[in-house]
Symmetry: C2
Subunit: 321 residues, 2 copies
């Protein structure tokens, strides 16, 4: 790292936690940290805490003079307005002018986008989508986000909100989403919360013996389901099959819409590897019409998870220059 | 029309019929004609007949020297390869190198794309989408096609097949599509065939009195349903409500994906006006998350129907230059 190399700040605001870091242009995360999003009911307190943490990192990195800007990825983050608008998974309701607020606080230019769009730019600059002109990034975390790249460009849409694949309806009249109150969206099944709900429902609705019956209901998540599934637990396998069926259907619909070269998955659920990928691929192929079959790669992001969100957000700073 | 103005041929290949014409750069269809697609089981006979009809029009228009090229819109038409590939609604199966075949026959450059992509280019050059950078064109005809424009560019996708919104699955395990054998696609409900099937199913499954009970089952289509609905026929209105529910859901999903400024509808079903538009709009809005609500215009194409398909296809010739 050259002493005079310009740096960027990347901030990834998730429903549960916020990751932040200082990144060089080659994609090295030099300093990073994490804090809770959830505990901050007030946006001002949130920005104060973030400013405090980042202030320390900026000093370590050689001072604010080296920082070119801040890139922020957040659910419902709008590239055009710099606002987070009506994000169902964040503690702040309504319209939050977060780019303006951060810019005032940090005295640095701030670029905001949807967290999954940020991840897509990160994959295109540093990850699995290097060199691709048409791909879809899907983040399977607390929520389900997506970033769509076509003709080599991120699709922001008319108003900056494109790429909300997680809120598309996969099962009409299906499970209700507690944030949006809509029924049957992809996010209500394929998010961390969704997989947990599927597990609880399946335990409730079946009498089948399962390792999951003795699991702590409070901490039951895709990791716990994974641990049972690799031991051959039938109910745990059924949970992945069910989740893969819905995710595969949603991927098939996305493929028939924008015909990407690859779909890149990122997030907690992908740690279950083939247990979730196999049913997802199978159901995707089953729902594709012939011209799309056996063409589209489903790839797992190979960026280090702790870095990827920060990298993607920081890439906004260079992407804008 | 200047004597020396260059002209383009536009050909729109539909499942039932083919429209063709000679168009100037301002979008005036100077000469046009129509023939059956359906009756030609062999592609060679089809191209021979088309060549015969167009030969006459070319002479009328001042000879082949004035023609700059041929634009063809066809279901599953691939912009990159010039092939029609596995089109479920056309009489020819497998891969048809139609651009090459036509180019050999006509001795003119041929540009092919999906029929709905051609319509989208036509709307962007001459129609309701003039000046828009983000919109979705949806054709509701024998099949349901779509053309997606984002950042001012048509989305062809990785392999040239983007925009198959008609084949996305709206009702998992729903009605089978006779062409694709997939269940619950938009096309199996919102195409001409789909609306007809809905009408026949509703007549079968209800005992309700209806003007449609005395209609000729052979010719029952959205026009017949429209005629009954404007007289207040409950079952006819239910058919539009049902179709609008499914179309509205599909539109909501498309909006959350690419966030267009408008959706432009074209084709037979749109002639039913508010009877189909009102339930479609209502169900679209119901399925949208808050950030997208009350923003997206649903417009009916105002290009003359007899011209629009030809115009759109011919626009490919200028778009490529």
């Amino acid at each position: 790292m050259s002493v005079h190399q310009p740096l960027a700040i990347g901030i990834d605001i998730g429903g549960t936690g916020t990751k932040f870091g200082i990144v060089d242009k080659d994609g090295n995360v030099l300093f990073s940290g994490e804090m809770s999003t959830k505990k901050h009911r007030e946006i001002d307190g949130y920005i104060d805490e973030l400013h405090g943490h980042l202030g320390e990192l900026i000093e370590k990195a050689g001072g604010i003079g080296r920082i070119r800007g801040i890139g922020v990825g957040a659910p419902n983050g709008n590239f055009y307005t710099g606002n987070i608008e009506y994000a169902p998974n964040l503690p702040w309701s309504g319209i939050i002018p977060i780019a303006k607020m951060m810019s005032d606080k940090f005295k640095l230019p701030v670029t905001l986008t949807n967290d999954a769009n940020a991840a897509a730019i990160g994959e295109m600059m540093y990850g699995a989508a290097k060199g691709m002109r048409d791909f879809i990034m899907i983040t399977l975390g607390t929520g389900v986000g997506s970033g769509i790249v076509a003709n080599g460009q991120l699709i922001y849409g008319h108003d900056g909100f494109a790429g909300e694949l997680g809120h598309t309806i996969v099962i009409p009249d299906g499970r209700i989403h507690q944030g949006t109150k809509k029924h049957g969206s992809l996010e209500s099944y394929a998010s961390a919360t969704g997989v947990r709900l599927t597990a609880l429902e399946m335990l409730e609705n079946s009498t089948e013996d399962s390792l999951l019956r003795t699991a702590d209901k409070e901490t039951l998540d895709s990791k716990v389901v994974y641990d049972a599934a690799i031991k051959g637990d039938k109910l745990a396998l059924d949970i992945f099959e069910f989740t893969g069926k819905i995710l595969g259907l949603a991927l098939a619909n996305a493929v028939m819409f924008s015909s990407p070269e690859a779909i890149i998955l990122f997030g907690g659920l992908t740690k279950s590897g083939d247990l979730i990928l196999n049913p997802t691929r199978r159901h995707m192929e089953e729902n594709l019409i012939q011209v799309f079959q056996n063409k589209v790669k489903i790839l797992i992001s190979h960026l280090k998870e702790s870095d990827a969100a920060i990298l993607g957000s920081s890439a906004l700073v260079w992407d804008k220059q």
